[in-house]
Symmetry: D2
Subunit: 443 residues, 4 copies
């Protein structure tokens, strides 16, 4: 390999400057020759804005990374070494529907593991599987690094329904938890280690270590001692935790667990937010508009600090560290979404899990977890069931399968409401769900 | 064995005439010599009423079964062959609290798998484990046949926390489903076979057969074709099912699944019922009072037909068939609660499951199920997690463990509400929960 | 179904009169309309002899079973309800080579699980998979009941490499063990029950029951108290067992375990036999010739008693009981070879095992075994590894895979000897192993 | 911890200078304050010789490690941080019997996984479990690093029969394989990585990597291209491998696999060696005598180069790297013997395996392997069965259990020969096997 070729699908995303910054920082050990930013015609304008910023960034940094902007995915993929996918089918407007429609029925949308996440999966998975087919043909040795949500289900679908083996799902939740814990302990993050295990956005810190010593109980005391946990993400309101519950659980929850352990309070928050400041998608839409205004500035040649508010903190680190460790066979430990292969006892070997892995040139190898703690195993299994049925619905376009996925989601209060939400969402997202409306095409 | 000795703990239950009738009917192949009915001092009056009815029943039937009534459990247990437990710690008043308190917080009590069931487990499990200790000493070769709810958690606790290996948990839900299906198909029940698998009150009919031919789809069509499913129990309102959901699921749900798949509608029903006719415990209390009035009639020498309304239909058949098949090594197939031992892949080998078993003299041997259908596996796993944590709380009396059990129950909407319900219920049931108030005893 | 159609492939086998007798005996509950006996051109003469005997048998019995003799397998298969396979590729001459060649290298041939069995598998599996393809097309609802050895590997291959799901492997070893134990205990066989678990010709009686009571230790005492075990088969010499070994093991071995637990002594026996009376194949060849002489007798219209010496005792019962229980959904318990599906913990769910099953109209459903006793698990796993690699070799025709199978067989003393035996046997069986000599076909 | 306390039980071993050298080299990051060398009275002289050499070594190196020599194990253990065990119950004379007695019956002794290994386990395990009890009392936080053979069974016994959780079994076979491969590839060993998985002395290299790229096939070609494999150990004769067999297997065998895949040839080698130069124990005895002569030299203050011939190459590196990584929470990857915990699918979670682990301050955490290749799974399972039964025999002193262990060992050709060898070895090792002769003590 004389210089690495990276292809970023959904390159017009507002996150891209993060990635570019990360590649610049690591240029010495990760010599990227070409970065191809790919988008769809509807995203052309954004692609140009972000792409030009990227060009200014590499120029200012003085690294010889060629930036290519294109709407031709297949041209970009040919001979790629790494393909990152950060796409959003239907853009933020679709996400706003994912959030708004369930709320009308008194149900949290939850755009990754909830009913909103189901629809994001139904829209996204066919596109990703299409990319996989292209990769098989055009860059069969490349690694697919997926950041597109719902990252857990996307990984599950790639493992079960594509021929691509070199695929990893990536999320910034674990790294965010580590940063949050380090801050709570007032230590440098590299002194903190967490045994992550579970599913994407459903991951637990089974134990926390400071310089190798277990400090799990101390960290649990800290996150339950005030009104806020202080280990959270900017986009998820921090309601604190019932101290005796978390102490009884004995593990560190992730921010998304609030949707499942604090459903009622989160619903109230979301309803209030939807009324006042808008749903998360609507907030993000404004943030993004502001960001793109900044990006346009021809004098800007670095990642603007405002990007961090966007919610994607540490994405750059997570993604670039992963690519770097694969490329250089670093054999360090990172939490990613991969085939379980026995790491978590009780989850099928061929399902996706989010778990600490040794990152090698041949990809991430999970570290054995054994059995999950009894008290969290049930919820993890339930979300895994939901994920698997949702993937099947995404691939088959079968209405009943989609209804089963919706109904068994723990946020749904009944089969009847599940059906109402499903029907309204199917209609709303119709343009992005051809697999559910194939007969209509011929009528 | 020259004549069988059966001991029924909680012998003063209104169900006992069912059991007596069953033993009389089977006397030829199941020669019971002694039936000991045991109760606690508070239940003495009922024990006498039911016991005298039992004496009249065997006399009328002309079978030489000796009926013994006693408050001395240890005397009764000595040398027993079968011990049945059908006790209710705190009586129906406790159950009424199990149902009423959660409703105040907008949560279904569900006296077997919900928050009410948690408290029933906390009250019942220590008593059952005490009986197990007595059995180890006084009748180590006897079989323990438990009908006391929550039968799944009680079996789990016996498997994990006692030395008794010869224990089976029994429920009339599967037999009721079979009867219901037979009625729907308008055939004799012995022509219907159902592959049962899951947990107590969380059991699914994975496939249904008529004369050995699969008729699962036909039965699913029937239960989803009208406003009611017609496969239900008198005590659980029949709201029908969303046809596409059940067709997508592809398996026969049990009546208790309404609490999990139709939570919101069931909550409304329960709230309305609590306001109007009283909760189930309150209804049963009246029914029982009427029954005991009937039982007192010295001319009554058969099981009165009114008992069937009580909700325990088929208990007699289920229990007597089980005892009969063990005693006579019949090797027929019955659905019971036993150690999983690999029958359901993904549930620990040493956990209790409700599954079809071959019933032998050495006890029930489960028939292999393999993996549960993906769509139901999650819920089953979640209830199993709840059950295991609840059992641990019952044995340890640990507050935080109880809070974890309460919070992870799928009926609970948040950790905070879980804590509120837990606190109020702990206080309400204090007399029956010494394990949670041990320090208080000394203060 | 108005009358059952059974097709017997390898119908010219000397065993067929057993099957015919079994069908006649059960005619009342198992109304067979047509029995098609199929063979290959080389077997035409035998087919006619046996077929005519069969015709005389049904005539004498007065049952309206039509006997059809044909060399056209596809014609026979059309619309079949049950297909039985009892074929022997290469006939007894091939088996004689399976036994003779390894002996030259000081290795037992063992025509089912040893190096001979490997070659029997290599010859037989492609033919069986071909039959499966025909069945898919011509009688997709039929049951395939395979008696052809090596029955374990044949079942494994059908499960892994064909689309036929309705397949069962059958062996008379378990029924023979039950008969032997009954004789030792001097009781009627129907009072004896054995918990069978393991693989074909590698099955253990984990526990033995008389009238439902465990008598395992008593039976072990009996089989180890004399010079002979008295639970054996006519074709396997009965050397007795080292009493402390079997008592330590605590389970009932099958006759074939002698080859693995008494390798050296069995080798000496086989070497002596090969010198004196001939190998088993050579003995059988003479027996068969005599049998066919008997069969020719136009006055013979029943199964001749001499057939029992042939070694196939109880085959008729095993096969007809199985077909009968499937046809009539009897739900009784029989030991057969089926997909494990979790029954034996530690063996893949999708591998074949020999285990007690409930026999239903939908086929055999295994009864859960849980973990095998530690001391026997290793050997069972090793044979399963051998079987799986052998199946792969049979399907792929890959030389190295065949060498791996040969070398890991526990009877082989080294990789080098494995290669020598493999090479000589491949050459000797060349006409029946086209998959290993495909290039040669084109040269 | 201000300075580490290490206790070496069996400190008088000829290997100890290796360990001392390793500690000296790593002093900067692994600040050992005290090294206690413990031995039994029979080993006092050797202890003094080695101990004095150790003292000269640390003095010459100028590191402040205090060397303590003692026969009082309990005094030494108090407050230890690491305890290493490298003991040999019955010394080399016992090992010579382990090798000689089986050979008389035509069976390889194999002092670690064969009949010799069984007896080594029977002698060693009770002593190790005794040390565990002392550790529980005197240094409950210490790590037990066991090098005593049979290291696999010793680890299994600690996991199953002691309360010590912080225990690791160590062997130099994996590091030797890595060194051998590096030499074959003519590269520096740190560029080579091997996926180790299996059991002690039964470990396979599932894949081999050079700078992160898979080179498994290339390495297999190299080890099968000549008369010798060139990946071996000084003490095991290198007979080469049958190329097609290893290529079919597709994994790298360890030197000990020769005993199982080349049994006959190895037996011939051992018989010849026993006649000519003596068994391995006898050879080592001479080597050791020579080494101790060297050690006595008061001018010697470094590890003499002759030690490497002894067969313990890389022990120092293996042991010191392990201790170093635990102490410093290095999270690097090393192959050690630990609780499986799901790493190898199909082996019980609570059994010992030899597998790559991330080495943390809380101990080694295995990296997931998933399923072993089918072709090697059988042998691994069989040795695991042998190990588990052998451990049970060691703990219980039960004759029949020992006979079962002996008989199921793959090197044994029959139950009868197993009994003969067992009986002679029990008698020969009587002084070291009190658990088998307890009644005799009282007679
Ligand atoms: Mn994420
Ligand atoms: Mn019930
Ligand atoms: Mn057979
Ligand atoms: Mn070693």
């Amino acid at each position: 390999m004389k210089g690495i070729k990276i292809v970023t699908i959904g390159g017009g995303s507002s996150y891209t400057p993060e990635l570019v910054e990360g590649l610049i920082k690591r240029y010495d050990e990760l010599p990227v020759r070409e970065l191809w930013m790919v988008d769809i015609p509807e995203g052309k304008e954004k692609l140009n804005i972000v792409g030009n910023l990227a060009k200014r960034m590499v120029k200012k940094a003085g690294v010889p990374i060629e930036i290519h902007l294109t709407l031709d995915r297949r041209e970009a993929l040919r001979g790629a070494d790494f393909v990152t996918t950060q796409l959003r089918v239907g853009l933020l407007d679709a996400r706003a529907l994912d959030e708004r429609i369930p709320l009308k029925y008194g149900v949290i949308g939850q755009e990754t593991n909830g009913p909103g996440g189901l629809f994001k999966a139904l829209r996204t998975i066919p596109v990703i599987l299409d990319i996989c087919k292209d990769m098989e043909e055009l860059c069969p040795d490349a690694w697919l690094i997926n950041f597109s949500n719902p990252a857990g289900m996307v990984t599950e679908a790639i493992l079960r329904y594509s021929n691509i083996k070199k695929a990893v799902g990536l999320c910034n939740v674990p790294i965010g938890m580590r940063m949050g814990v380090a801050k709570l302990l007032d230590v440098s993050p590299d002194r903190v280690h967490i045994d992550f295990a579970g599913l994407n956005h459903m991951v637990f810190g089974l134990d926390v270590y400071l310089d190798g010593e277990k400090v799990t109980d101390r960290v649990i005391d800290l996150i339950t001692s005030g009104e806020k946990s202080n280990v959270t993400m900017s986009k998820i309101v921090d309601l604190g935790w019932e101290p005796d519950f978390i102490k009884g659980l004995g593990v560190l929850p992730c921010p998304y667990h609030r949707y499942y352990f604090q459903t009622q309070k989160m619903l109230e928050e979301e309803l209030a937010a939807a009324k006042e400041k808008g749903t998360r998608a609507e907030v993000v839409k404004k943030l993004e508009a502001e960001l793109f205004e900044l990006y346009k500035d021809p004098n800007l040649a670095v990642k603007p600090p405002q990007l961090e508010k966007r919610g994607g903190a540490y994405y750059s680190d997570a993604a670039c560290n992963l690519i770097n460790s694969i490329y250089n066979d670093k054999r360090d430990i990172q939490p990613v979404n991969v085939r379980n292969n026995g790491a978590i006892v009780g989850i099928p070997d061929d399902s996706a899990v989010e778990v600490n892995c040794v990152i090698t040139k041949e990809g991430p190898v999970p570290i054995s977890v054994g059995e999950l703690p009894v008290a969290v195993n049930g919820l993890v299994q339930q979300i895994k069931s939901f994920e698997r049925v949702a993937c099947k619905a995404a691939v088959t376009g079968d209405y009943r399968t989609a209804l089963v996925a919706m109904t068994i989601n723990p946020l749904l209060p009944s089969d009847t409401i599940a059906k109402q939400i499903l029907d309204e969402m199917l209609e709303a997202h119709k343009p992005y769900l051809p697999q559910f409306f194939q007969e209509a095409q011929f009528s």
